[in-house]
Symmetry: C2
Subunit: 343 residues, 2 copies
């Protein structure tokens, strides 16, 4: 069992280094020696051992994927889909993905083990991630691609969502349906995507010369889950300024808002139309189903891997921003033409 390069060399009647040259096609080997070696490899069913090779080449053949732990769970299909996208793509480049999550709550952001052990050739970081880790990756001189996250400082490659475009589509859709008083709920403004979605809403409203004020925007939630959507929606509903439509910064918050509205006996979409963002499962399992902005999550993961591999191979340089397009998907939560209530 367990053949080594020595066995091959012996069988082929050549030196170990010659076998290595053949395996790594470094050329400079005569056709006939090459044939002898190839034959021996074939007969022995030999395959070089990854770790032995890695020890000298400093290449592990792995890519690291770092995610904050609250983003990798059943409740959070968004980043999970991105991760699966990286898995798909990685295999066609002969890389394996090592996944790790980092605990956000504990102040001490432990450096992922695969970084400490020098077990990856490049890193993908998805969502909000502590600076400390980004800096560590940098200090290791590892290629890095951010996904759905960006930093103003530093020259990072990133795969980003067209957040402004998406929110604009959603808002415009509502406007086209006849809505004039539209509110927005969001949260976690430390995340660039969230900030952009909020700004995108403002912008679209202004472009349409529609009113937007403090009472129609609620973005101060620390998180962006259903509970926060519920709270934010309730806050807006309690305010004097009435609205007929609500734009959610993501599906989770939109679904929370859905519940808040139902609790107030408001019909959706008749009394209030609602849109989400992301198009995760919850958008389609919600009742009514949620009109939302579809994000190509798997594709984002694939894109990140492709770019990362290019950086590793010197075919691309860090600093590229890739913005993926999004698409509005109309479902029940807005399907109804709004009655013009001139209150």
């Amino acid at each position: 069992m367990n053949k080594t390069i020595r066995d091959v060399a012996q069988r082929a009647g050549v030196a170990v280094s010659t076998v290595s040259l053949v395996i790594n096609r470094k050329g400079r080997v005569s056709k006939e020696t090459e044939q002898k070696v190839l034959k021996a490899i074939e007969e022995l069913n030999y395959h070089p051992q990854r770790v032995a090779r890695g020890l000298v080449t400093k290449r592990s053949g792995n890519l690291g994927f770092i995610l904050s732990s609250d983003h990798f769970s059943q409740a959070e299909p968004f980043y999970t889909k991105i991760f699966l996208g990286t898995e798909f793509e990685a295999r066609s480049h002969d890389y394996y993905i090592l996944l790790t999550t980092i605990e956000k709550q504990t102040g001490s952001f432990a450096i992922p083990r695969f970084l400490l052990e020098r077990n990856v050739d490049g890193v993908i970081l998805a969502g909000t991630v502590p600076r400390k880790i980004i800096e560590y990756v940098g200090s290791r001189n590892l290629p890095l691609v951010l996904v759905d996250y960006s930093l103003s400082r530093g020259n990072f490659s990133a795969v980003l969502i067209d957040n402004v475009g998406g929110i604009s589509q959603a808002t415009q859709h509502l406007i086209d349906l006849g809505h004039r008083r539209i509110a927005f709920i969001g949260g976690d403004m430390s995340h660039p995507s969230m900030k952009e979605r909020c700004q995108g809403f403002r912008q679209t409203m202004e472009e349409n010369r529609l009113p937007v004020n403090a009472q129609s925007i609620c973005c101060d939630q620390p998180l962006t889950g259903p509970a926060e959507g519920f709270a934010a929606a309730n806050r807006l509903l309690a305010a004097k300024t009435k609205f007929t439509a609500l734009v959610g910064a993501n599906d989770a918050m939109a679904v929370g808002a859905l519940r808040a509205c139902r609790d107030q006996k408001l019909r959706i979409p008749e009394d209030i139309a609602i849109t989400g963002f992301d198009d995760v499962e919850t958008a389609i399992t919600a009742r009514p189903t949620l009109t939302t902005v579809q994000v190509p999550k798997e594709e984002m993961g694939a894109l990140a891997v492709r770019h990362l591999v290019n950086i590793i191979n010197g075919k691309a340089t860090m600093g590229t921003k890739m913005i993926v397009p999004v698409k509005l998907v109309c479902r029940e939560s807005t399907s109804c033409r709004v009655r013009e209530t001139s209150e």
Copy 2:
């Protein structure tokens, strides 16, 4: 940068082997030398390099996950969920998962690269997998755990679904609703789970002294997707023997059957009640939503990893069969009490 064990040894004023002993807590090191070493490690921020360690210990710190490629796609959330379950669990055991898929279509089932390169310490195999690969894993002497698959020959550990129990629950549910003429559709009888589900149906019907014959069972489809469900349902609908309920071997086929029934202007569940199996997304996005048997997919993956790690550490031996429980989830596709049509 990049400290080695030598640097630590030098700084602590001891031999490299002593540092190694400390790192691997092999004991036999005096408290004070240990302190010196620990201090040096701390100061240099040293971490042993995975591949160097792996080269000598023959341990990679990785677990391999093998899946047939048609089982790893967006259309197939079942095994994908199992995979995510392994990812969750692996991290708490300090292992990384290397995922690979094998092409079923090509006759030549290439041996996964991580096996050839000796890059995993154990293997998880999900779904139908070529014997050749199982044999190869065996020849490598690698611990192996099968998930949703089993082989009569050989002593394999496996995480299995309570298929008979699940189908029995679904069938009994229909019987309790008043159904007497119940049909079954399945496919890919080469897969043990499919075979068991079919047998489970037969068994439950017989226990209830209800008729079951060739015209009420259609299991000869080669695959188990919606298209096959559609075809199978149409076949049964065309037969003389009428039925008021249909048990699907999985959600995908049940959804195909749903479509077939709608095409024939049959109302669900009024004219025909339908059940699925697996509880994947399609069950809840279908219209009407699908009554189905919930399978703890993530838990199955986690269980597999836990057991595999135990085998690796000598705390468990291969050959254990673990059967996970399932649970019926009632939804719209059966929610209606059937009218007793005494045709």
